[in-house]
């Protein structure tokens, strides 16, 4: 207000003469400094509110810890904290990419689930910060670490910030809490996938509750079935047959357009053999049991027969893979530009109808491969089992199973309350009969009018229009179903997923596509596109023991100082051999160089870690 007035005053006055301008400026400066005062005061008082808000909440939770246990309900599914407990957390939320997560008027900080938790569980959730980008989230954590600021009570983290947090000693070990409070089935998971938890371990203690990936996307082989049929070929079951198929795809004009414009296999090799899509781990797997990856030193540590770990990319078996790829590259069966492409770019060749085969996850049947029909309505990518190598070997790499960890401020008093909520969501995800943690109030879904509606006595969870639900009862005005993950995972960080837990539901719908979905999981699975479901079927039926990575610890000192060089060396050497710039014998020289430049030291460090933390 002040400022605006002053500015206009100057504008008007400048038209006149210089002398009066000086006067006006003097007035302006005075009123500016006066005008600024209240604003500054407002800023600082605002700060006071914020900082006084925190002690108040911690105070209440501290007092809660004294009497919390006494006021607890005895039933596992119905724990209520009285007086209420406040749990602070933090989250990344850009407000846009989560389209249908909240109803109009509701938000991350104010929604039906938070109100429900407050009322029925006595848990207040407070967000210490909500940022829109993962980078900002990490920056925020680093700032809190370096400034000694108060960390949220429970929050999710991974990678380098996790490493810093574990090393800083400002988060608490959770082994005891898991033992004491966690759902028994979750304890089993921790045991089963213990080898993946190294990132949050220090001195043998676990410093975070892991969030798992489903891990089940596998690698399947996607082939243009219409091309196979056109050329009268059978889906390849062995690598020799595979070789023939890509040869025919490259040379015999499978799309029948009279031009020599097709290739057999498209694969992104810019980051080495393993990637999130288009990976050639199946070709590696046909020759060896090694998990091979060249662009990430923390991944690809295989357990040898002597129990020692070694990096797959320098294993002599890799030569067989390289020889094969080199052969295909020289013959033109493999995309000539593989070396400069990332997965999305590489998939364009398949989607545009120029490449006949691409390896990758089971979901590829939808995006990107369904785009192929845009160019050619007859284009039909179908999932097939992975081809077997000369010795009958079939294999692929296991995908990363860890999203991140939920870690806890070491001063957090109420990890029991956190687990009360965690177990409830976990039990709901598990949907096991007779589970004492399962909350019967969530039998049909979480909240009526949100993730489900009741209509004519039936529970309806989606396609409301098709089910005949009147528009005024739809959860969202446009009739879509709501994505509940955002409001349900508030203090749980990365959320609750059980690895490979979709398999049973997938089998059910493969056997009978029209079966009635009985659980939330089955409902989700039924949403999959047919080709995705088929691909999962292919993956499950082939029953491959996936090659695992056994090193999940933090970067070792030599990885920090030499890792970048060694990753570059490996990826570069692989490509040079595949492109024929270097002979296959160069592999031995590469391995020698790799070991001499720090690789041997890293291997020792990794084994040292493994001996301590396995």
């Amino acid at each position: 207000m002040n400022l605006y007035f002053v500015c206009t005053a100057i504008k008007i006055e400048t038209g006149d003469n210089m002398k009066s301008l000086f006067k006006v400026t003097k007035v302006a400066v005075l009123s500016l400094s006066i005008g600024l005062l209240p604003t500054l005061a407002a800023c600082s008082s605002n700060d006071n509110h914020n900082s006084s808000g925190n002690p108040a909440s911690t105070g209440s939770s501290a007092s809660a810890s004294d009497s919390g246990q006494a006021g607890q309900s005895t039933e596992l599914w119905n724990q209520k904290f009285d007086p209420p407990v406040t749990i602070t957390t933090a989250v990344v939320d850009d407000g846009t990419s989560r389209g249908n997560a909240f109803k109009p008027g509701e938000s991350m900080e104010d929604n039906v689930n938070l109100r429900w938790m407050k009322e029925n569980m006595g848990i207040n959730v407070k967000y210490n910060f909500i940022v829109s980008k993962p980078e900002d989230y990490d920056t925020k954590l680093r700032l809190l670490l370096s400034s000694g600021g108060k960390l949220p009570d429970a929050f999710s983290t991974s990678g380098e910030p996790l490493e810093s947090l574990v090393a800083s000693g400002r988060i608490m070990p959770v082994d005891e809490a898991i033992e004491k409070y966690a759902h028994p089935e979750f304890k089993k998971l921790i045991e089963q996938y213990g080898y993946t938890l190294g990132g949050a371990k220090k001195d043998g203690k676990l410093y975070g509750v892991p969030s798992f990936y489903m891990g089940d996307e596998g690698t399947v082989m996607w082939i243009r079935k219409d091309w196979l049929d056109h050329l009268g070929l059978q889906p390849p079951k062995t690598l020799a047959e595979f070789d023939n198929v890509i040869k025919q795809f490259t040379e015999n004009d499978p799309d029948n357009n009279g031009k020599d414009d097709t290739i057999g296999l498209t694969a992104p090799l810019k980051d080495g053999p393993f990637n999130w899509m288009g990976q050639t781990d199946a070709i590696v797997g046909a020759f060896t049991k090694q998990f091979i990856n060249t662009s990430w030193l923390q991944d690809g540590w295989n357990k040898g027969e002597d129990g020692k770990l070694s990096w797959g990319a320098v294993h002599p078996d890799a030569k067989l893979y390289l020889q094969t790829m080199r052969d295909w590259m020289s013959k033109g069966y493999l995309d000539k530009e593989s070396g400069i492409k990332d997965p999305a770019k590489s998939s364009e060749l398949a989607a545009s109808g120029k490449a006949g085969i691409m390896f990758g996850p089971a979901w590829m049947g939808d995006w990107p491969l369904s785009d192929a029909t845009k160019n050619d309505p007859k284009a039909d990518f179908e999932p097939y089992p992975l081809p077997a190598g000369p010795d009958g070997l079939v294999g692929r790499n296991q995908k990363t199973l860890i999203v991140g960890f939920t870690v806890f401020n070491k001063d957090f008093q109420h990890i029991d309350a956190w687990f009360a909520y965690f177990n409830k969501i976990f039990a709901k995800t598990l949907e096991q009969e007779g589970d004492p943690y399962f909350d019967p109030r969530w039998k049909d879904g979480y909240y009526e009018g949100y993730d489900y509606v009741k209509y004519n006595g039936k529970v309806i969870k989606g396609d409301f229009e098709a089910a005949g639900v009147p528009a005024d009862q739809w959860p969202l005005k446009d009739g879509r179903s709501m994505d509940m993950r955002f409001m349900m995972t508030n203090i749980l960080g990365g959320g609750v997923t059980i690895p490979y837990s979709n398999d049973a539901a997938i089998k059910k719908f493969l056997a009978d596509p029209n079966a009635e979905p009985l659980t939330a999981r089955e409902y989700d699975v039924k949403q999959m596109k047919k080709k995705q479901l088929d691909a999962h079927g292919v993956r499950i039926n082939q029953g491959i023991t996936e090659n695992k990575n056994y090193f999940t610890g933090p970067l070792t000192p030599t990885m920090k100082s030499k890792g970048q060089l060694l990753q570059k060396l490996a990826t570069e050497s692989y490509l040079k051999i595949i492109y024929g710039e270097k002979p296959i014998e160069y592999f031995d020289q590469f391995v020698k160089e790799w070991l001499e430049n720090g690789g041997q030291k890293i291997t020792d460090e990794v084994n040292e870690w493994y001996a301590q933390n396995q």
Binding site: A167, E337, G339, Q567, K568
Partner: protein
């Protein structure tokens, strides 16, 4: 207000050291102008808070910085990070690549816009001039993420438009982004293409600002267009050329991070990996704050030295002071 009054007011507003006035005038000057200085204060304050104070953070280049230990608590390692940068097996290659790519970019990004500006300045038809100007500086506003994808397509060996044109002339397809030497060429050319229109703006503005009387006089003396360019336009844009060249010398160790990151790949590491991409990979791996700061400091140091040298040279050779 007439012209004389205006000039008097302007002279009064000038700082006294410009006019070499006495003490009394100085006091007079301050009395009249202190409100202006006060108005400058907030900007100065912001500058100190956000530009100068953070400079002290550069000490982490000499520490093994750990976020939870803070700047004060982190152990002191002296010049280790600088030694590491210079003795790393890859460093020679990476610094060499940076210098080559950057030097070529510097030269072409200076001369192409000048030539373009001079040519465009000769165009008499306003509409044509405007349209061309808009079209050529448009690419400047596209990010390298987008251009990277586009270049990958148009330079593709399988049906990319550039290689198709080459093929039609009977030339074999060139793997622009997968062959080291061609990669450098592609990087430099595409950067010049992207930026020359935008860089030309400053030269065009200078050319427009040249007093038309000079050209008129030259024409009366019978000078041809070329002679006019040679003797009027060129000497008069020289100061700006020197400023631009000097300032870009300061960035000699920036070879274009976004561009290289979006275009490079393991096939061209040997010719295309630059300091910034190397630091990026290093940082991405390990969150090495200290090392990143050390490299930044190293680059600024080299840039600073080069700016000082070129400033001296500009003064000595062209008798021109920038600052």
């Amino acid at each position: 207000m007439n012209k004389t009054e205006e000039r008097a007011a302007f002279a009064a507003a000038l700082p006294p050291f410009f006019l070499r006035k006495g003490k009394v005038e100085m006091a007079n000057y301050w009395r009249k102008t202190w409100p202006f200085h006060m108005l400058l204060l907030p900007a100065l304050l912001l500058c100190i808070v956000f530009q100068y104070i953070p400079l002290f953070g550069a000490v982490i280049a000499f520490e093994d910085y750990k976020p939870w230990l803070g700047i004060k608590g982190s152990p002191w390692v002296g010049l280790d990070h600088f030694k590491y940068l210079l003795t790393y097996p890859d460093s020679k290659q990476v610094i060499w690549n940076t210098l080559i790519i950057s030097a070529f970019k510097l030269v072409f990004n200076l001369f192409v816009p000048i030539i373009f500006a001079l040519l465009l300045n000769e165009v008499r038809k306003m509409v044509f001039k405007r349209v061309v100007q808009t079209l050529v500086y448009l690419p400047h506003f596209l990010s390298w993420v987008i251009l990277g994808g586009i270049l990958l397509d148009i330079l593709s060996t399988e049906g990319g438009i550039v290689n198709r044109v080459l093929n039609s002339f009977g030339i074999n397809s060139i793997f622009f982004l997968g062959n080291g030497q061609w990669f450098r060429f592609t990087v430099i050319l595409s950067d010049v293409w992207k930026e020359f229109g935008f860089s030309a703006i400053i030269f065009l503005a200078t050319l427009v600002g040249i007093n038309p009387a000079l050209y008129e006089a030259a024409e009366i003396d019978g000078a041809s267009r070329w002679q006019q360019v040679k003797s009027i336009s060129f000497p008069l844009i020289m100061p700006i050329v020197i400023v631009v060249a000097t300032l870009s010398l300061g960035r000699i160790l920036d070879a274009g991070f976004d561009q290289i990151l979006n275009l490079y790949n393991p096939l061209v590491y040997a010719h295309g990996d630059i300091i910034d991409t190397f630091v990026y990979r290093e940082g991405l791996n390990n969150g090495q704050f200290s090392f990143g700061t050390a490299v930044g400091l190293f680059k600024s140091m080299i840039g600073f030295v080069l700016i000082v040298i070129s400033y001296r040279l500009a003064y000595k050779l062209a008798n021109y002071r920038i600052f």
